[in-house]
């Protein structure tokens, strides 16, 4: 038998690993869910170069004029059918032949419909013989790093680190308390700090797999850029995971039932899902609540990761975010140690 066999820290950490690996649902949520989400968002928000807009017209002549534009596909519809197609979103615009000219029916609050209006008008005017006054050409730019998927990958990474850390802390901890296993463990000579340390150690090992898996996928499938130092990115992930583990420990420090813990978890995570800029920039929220938004650990984590991955900013220039994460590690951890209930 090796020496490790008798190390309680090793045994406790191995137990955490085994219990995690024997929970297939957990593996799905932590490894595959973020990838599914990235794929889904990547498809939904992909930059479509040949973004063809669907429009309708009331006469065959108009339809022909519209179809001549590469940005449009057109079909002939009666005014009633066309209005219905418009209402259901099947077409973006209906061109109606009137005695005195053409009327465009569309929703001017929909950006795509406004684009359709411009294209349709240009097509119809061109068909009617209008000539451009100034010659114009296009130079197209598709730069990686400016796409939505590039923006959302660091957001998903941060969100995933939050979920897996809080989840991975709260569920097993509360279950162990509920099943009186915590009580049995403190009745044994187990050093208490090792129990908490085993959670952190197994989390860190899992973190390496989780982050490597997700980021390689983002790199290979979407070509998401890594402009900053990879080591610093790893450090940021580590810091993020520690901060959320501490928060998870705080959530689980007193809850006696899974129901109570789930409620607390939602209370902690929901504001961050909404406010921390996972899917869109957090700067869109009103200035009054910006100080709160900025102080959230997920906001800090995502900003720092975006800074690293998309802009290549060094960690020394993001000390505010790093400081926020460090504070979110120490404060909840300290409080948890004071109020933690072993039974």
């Amino acid at each position: 038998m090796s020496k490790l066999e008798f190390s309680s820290l090793y045994q406790l950490t191995m137990v955490r690993f085994r219990l995690f690996l024997r929970e297939p649902e957990a593996i799905f949520w932590i490894f595959f869910f973020p990838i599914l989400l990235a794929v889904g968002l990547g498809i939904a928000f992909r930059n479509r170069p040949a973004d063809v807009l669907q429009v309708g017209a009331t006469t065959a002549q108009l339809t022909q004029a519209l179809a001549a534009d590469k940005g449009l596909t057109a079909e002939t519809l009666s005014e009633a059918d066309g209005t219905h197609a418009l209402a259901t979103g099947r077409i973006l615009l209906l061109a109606i032949q009137r005695p005195d000219g053409v009327a465009y029916k569309y929703d001017d609050t929909n950006p795509d419909a406004r684009t359709a209006r411009l294209l349709a008008d240009r097509a119809i005017q061109t068909a009617a013989g209008r000539r451009d006054a100034v010659q114009a050409g296009n130079e197209l730019v598709h730069e990686t790093g400016a796409r939505y998927i590039d923006f959302v990958v660091p957001g998903l990474l941060g969100m995933n680190l939050m979920g897996s850390a809080i989840w991975g802390m709260v569920f097993p901890m509360v279950e162990a308390r509920q099943k009186k296993l915590l009580k049995r463990l403190v009745a044994s000579p187990m050093p208490k700090w090792q129990y908490l340390a085993s959670y952190l150690l197994s989390r860190l090992a899992m973190l390496i797999i989780e982050v490597a898996f997700f980021l390689s996928f983002a790199r290979l499938a979407f070509g998401v850029p890594f402009r900053g130092s990879l080591w610093q990115l790893c450090l940021l992930c580590l810091l993020t995971s520690l901060a959320f583990s501490a928060l998870g420990l705080l959530v689980s420090s007193r809850a006696k039932t899974m129901e109570a813990a789930s409620g607390l978890m939602n209370l902690v995570m929901l504001p961050m899902w909404i406010l921390s800029g996972v899917f869109f920039s957090a700067s869109r929220f009103p200035a009054v609540i910006q100080p709160v938004v900025r102080a959230l650990p997920l906001t800090a984590a995502i900003e720092a990761m975006r800074g690293n991955m998309l802009q290549g900013i060094g960690i020394t220039h993001m000390m505010v975010q790093v400081g926020i994460l460090v504070a979110w590690f120490f404060v909840p951890f300290g409080v948890s140690l004071q109020i933690f209930r072993w039974r």
Partner: protein, 333 residues
Amino acid sequence: MGEGTGSAVAELGSRAGEQADGPSLLLRGVRKAFADVQAVDGLDLEVPRGECFGLLGPNGAGKTTTIEMCEGLTAPDQGTVEVLGLNWHNGADALRQRIGIQLQETQFPDKLTVEETLRMFRSFFKRGISVEESIRTAQLEEKRKSRVGGLSGGQKQRLAMACALVGDPELLFLDEPTTGLDPQARRHLWDLVDGLKQAGRTIILTTHYMDEAERLCDRVAIMDHGKVIALGTPQQLIGTIGGEDIVEFAVSGIEATGHGSVDVAPLLAIPGVQSHRVDAGLHQLSVSELHLAVPRIFAALNQQGLHLSEFRTHSATLEDVFVRMTGRNLRDE
């Protein structure tokens, strides 16, 4: 936290002698209240080394609170708790290495195997028996690689027992080890405890099964409402009832007149009948020399013109002791 009653501590004798042959467990004036319930109300106990000692009583008698104070899981409001000559204030780490604990309703992780669970517990102890040996002792050889979730109730209890044994403890605490088990699993566990007794370990167990206490314990303390109401060997306690046997009977045809129509005086006059009580229409007599008393009981009832609807006898048990002392049945809760 109270430093305990001075006079009790003075009785302890020389501290030097304690390590070798002092009591395994010593409680003096121990009290513990939860909210407005006085769970333990002034408890004095002394358990010598090598004894199997039973704490007996109905649910809510304070057994678990008592054992948890001994295990250092609950701090007493008042009084002193000494375990193996040490106390929980300054000897906790050393004590944890030397005692084995099985708690009520611990659920080990379902997805670990028996062996993995034991290996984890073994790693907490500086010295102890091997995982293999603990598996053998608890007779879980066939289940070594099975997950805890797939074990039967009895096997789970034996696993809990094995976890308590991996540190090769001098003192073993078992809190209701057989509650909820079927009769066969209980007997299996009793055999296990028997084996541990023979190995010379001190065992403190709580139970609300009187037969379990009679079967396993050298001495028994009966607890009720946080106090010890009787203390002694099972035989001594049964002896306090006065008779070795209990006669129970019920009569029919007295509903109209109420049960006062059984005249108790002639029954108590029969030689060998020690006492009488009625519980829900069932009359109980404690009797010595059963073979002589029974015919006379029949005759006396016959004389009063009563018809027996039930009649049975059994040897007096700790259950009868409890009923006699409290006027309640053990499972009245």
